[in-house]
């Protein structure tokens, strides 16, 4: 389906709740509100016959921006749908009842950012090690901003030492 | 005195020592030809011996969940059987008077024992991947034994006797089996069955390295691993010799025939190496379908042609 027609049909169906942008010849961005998230996904997947590719998420300090990518392979362009799940407790409707292939990427978004997905059949961490505590969400801005990592740095090393070419001071951590 | 002679024949020449050395050299030929075909240099001639001696010096680890005695005994049983097959085959080729009626069947039966030892050793290892390799080897065994036996029977039927000596004498007077249509068909079937029996590509499903981390070999280390690899090496000597004896006139160390014998042997080994290098691994169901389908049909045609007289 051609790009112009896709944009027209999405705008016709959802009206004011979406904002469609086209930033490059191969990318169409659709900013959607939280309520129509699943309807938009179903529209793209079932009616317009796009393929579901993967998802991505970013933690902007007020909330988590979640995006899913739907390519139209024959016409060589992507339609990306984005939404903003506000903090605290970012929550979103899960699209895995419609697209089962989205189950794992939503589990990874949960494990990294603590984004809760309603109606997800099995929302638990997918890559986290068993020895981690249950509330370890490494990509959250609060965690990253405080520079907490598992390894304690007790060797007196700083980044400036490495970039300036000086030898490391402490023992191998 | 006779007993000492038997011991020497079984253990030194043409038994264990001779078969082990020549078998390991054959594996070297395999690796060198493979390397050359892939435009590489390849290992030096002493490589298989270095591998074996290195393995004899490594620690032997028996997993806690393994059946200890069976796990360690199986490679030795396989080695005994492979050495026996090699001894009988060399003796009937070099001294035809040691042949007896039924020795083709004896060698055929004894040649299955190394595969059985591998199956039992793999499942005794206590490793689920080892059990998986065992199951695959069993299915492969069901697959290739059928065309193998029919191809062997083709040669026997033509001669009318179960003894190697009569087969060799027949080929002396009537020309090698390869000269007839049924002989050629049976020879082709035997090459593929030998490929599966030795566990080479495209039929090395049982000990797939990248797929199931070594399959039946997975838990063997040190001395037992050296024996397992030695079994493959000795079978690498036995199977081409078996094919040559049945279809190509046997080996002979009289005069010029030394050269032709060595060339025959190297030709069959090179054919197997080339098949090994140009094919990917097939799945177990594809392999069994291959042996019960085209190979069985080919060997059945060869048998019928042999009965009719071609």
């Amino acid at each position: 389906m051609e790009r112009e027609e896709v944009k027209k049909r999405i705008a016709a169906k959802f009206g004011a709740k979406v904002k469609i942008e086209e930033r490059s010849p191969r990318r169409v961005y659709v900013y959607a509100e939280n309520e129509i998230w699943t309807d938009l996904a179903r529209f793209l997947f079932d009616d317009l016959d796009a393929r579901f590719d993967t998802g991505a998420a970013v933690d902007d300090r007020d909330g988590v921006e979640v995006m899913f990518f739907f390519p139209f392979d024959r016409e060589h362009y992507y339609v990306t749908i984005k939404t903003f799940a506000a903090k605290p407790n970012p929550t979103l409707n899960s699209i895995s009842p419609i697209i089962p292939g989205a189950k794992w990427i939503e589990r990874e978004m949960f494990e990294m950012y603590e984004v809760n997905f309603r109606n997800h059949p099995d929302l638990r961490p997918v890559l986290r090690a068993d020895t981690r505590p249950a509330d370890f969400y490494p990509a959250k801005r609060e965690v990253k901003d405080s520079h907490e990592t598992v390894r304690e740095r007790d060797d007196g090393e700083t980044r400036a030492d490495e970039t300036a070419g000086r030898a490391p001071k402490g023992k191998n951590p | 005195m006779e007993a000492v002679l038997y011991f020497v024949r079984y253990l030194v020449f043409p038994g264990f020592l001779f078969s082990a050395v020549v078998g390991l050299l054959t594996t070297w030929v395999d690796r060198k030809v493979s390397a050359r075909v892939q435009l590489r240099v390849g290992p030096p001639w002493y490589q298989p011996f270095a591998d074996t001696f290195k393995l004899l010096g490594k620690e032997v680890v028996v997993p806690a969940g393994a059946r200890h005695t069976g796990f360690l005994l199986m490679p030795v049983i396989g080695l005994a059987a492979a050495t026996l097959a090699s001894t009988i085959l060399w003796l009937v080729n070099l001294r035809p008077e040691t042949s007896f009626v039924g020795d083709t069947l004896v060698v055929l039966y004894v040649m299955t024992i190394p595969a059985l030892a591998l199956i039992l050793g793999g499942s005794a290892s206590g490793n689920p991947l080892g059990a998986l390799g065992s199951a695959r080897e069993m299915k492969l065994l069901f697959g290739y034994e059928l065309p193998l036996v029919i191809a062997v029977l083709t040669s026997i039927v033509k001669v009318g006797s179960f003894s190697f000596e009569k087969i060799l004498i027949y080929q002396e007077y009537n020309g090698v089996m390869l000269g007839s249509v049924s002989g050629v068909l049976a020879f082709i079937v035997m090459i593929f069955c030998a490929q599966a029996k030795l566990g080479f590509l495209p039929f090395d499903i049982a000990e797939a390295e990248t797929e199931i981390a070594g399959g039946t070999h997975i838990e063997y280390s040190g001395g037992p691993l050296a024996i397992v690899r030695l079994n493959t090496a000795i079978m690498y000597l036995v199977l081409p010799l078996f094919i040559i004896t049945l279809f190509w006139g046997g080996v002979n160390f009289v005069g010029w025939r030394i050269l032709t014998s060595v060339l025959k042997y190297v030709a069959i080994v090179v054919i197997m190496v080339l098949i090994k290098n140009t094919n990917p691994r097939v799945r177990i169901d594809q392999a069994v379908r291959f042996f019960w389908g085209p190979m069985f049909a080919l060997s059945a045609i060869a048998m019928i042609l042999a009965i009719v007289g071609y």
Partner: protein, 137 residues
């Protein structure tokens, strides 16, 4: 030197583990087996099972998930075993140093016999590293 030790120098079998690397080092190991460098002429074989290995080649910084398995692999290897830390990540965690699940370089948990630095190491470096490991025997 015993016969077995002399034979070990001529036929080191390598088992490769990736503990969280970006796979570039793994591709360079495959490079060494290609016709241009061809380490098989030294007897080096890549084996499929740790029980067959003489050299344990570990690439990557150790992630928390793989740490117990790495320890079990080291215990499962039949002695004598040589451990080689491969790549910048193997030696000192490389660019993954501040990762949230990196628990340290390899020699924090396993005694290492040789380090092959580089990101990724060139095949010449890899062969030189193998020679150094064999000379330690």
């Amino acid at each position: 030197m015993s016969l077995a030790l002399k034979a070990l120098k001529k036929s080191p079998w390598v088992f490769h583990v990736n503990t969280g690397a970006c796979n570039n080092c793994d591709i360079e190991i495959l490079d060494c087996l290609t016709p241009r460098f061809d380490v098989e002429r030294f007897g080096v074989l890549l084996v499929g099972s740790i029980r067959h290995a003489d050299v344990l080649l570990i690439s990557g910084p150790v992630t928390q998930n793989i740490l117990p398995r790495l320890k079990r692999l080291y215990e499962a290897a039949p002695r004598p075993i040589k451990v080689v830390a491969f790549g910048a990540c193997g030696c000192r965690c490389g660019i993954f140093r501040d990762g949230y699940n990196i628990v340290g370089p390899i020699d924090k948990y396993i005694p290492v016999d040789a380090y092959i630095p580089g990101c990724p190491p060139k095949p010449e470096t890899i062969i030189s590293g193998i020679v150094k490991v064999l000379n330690q025997l």
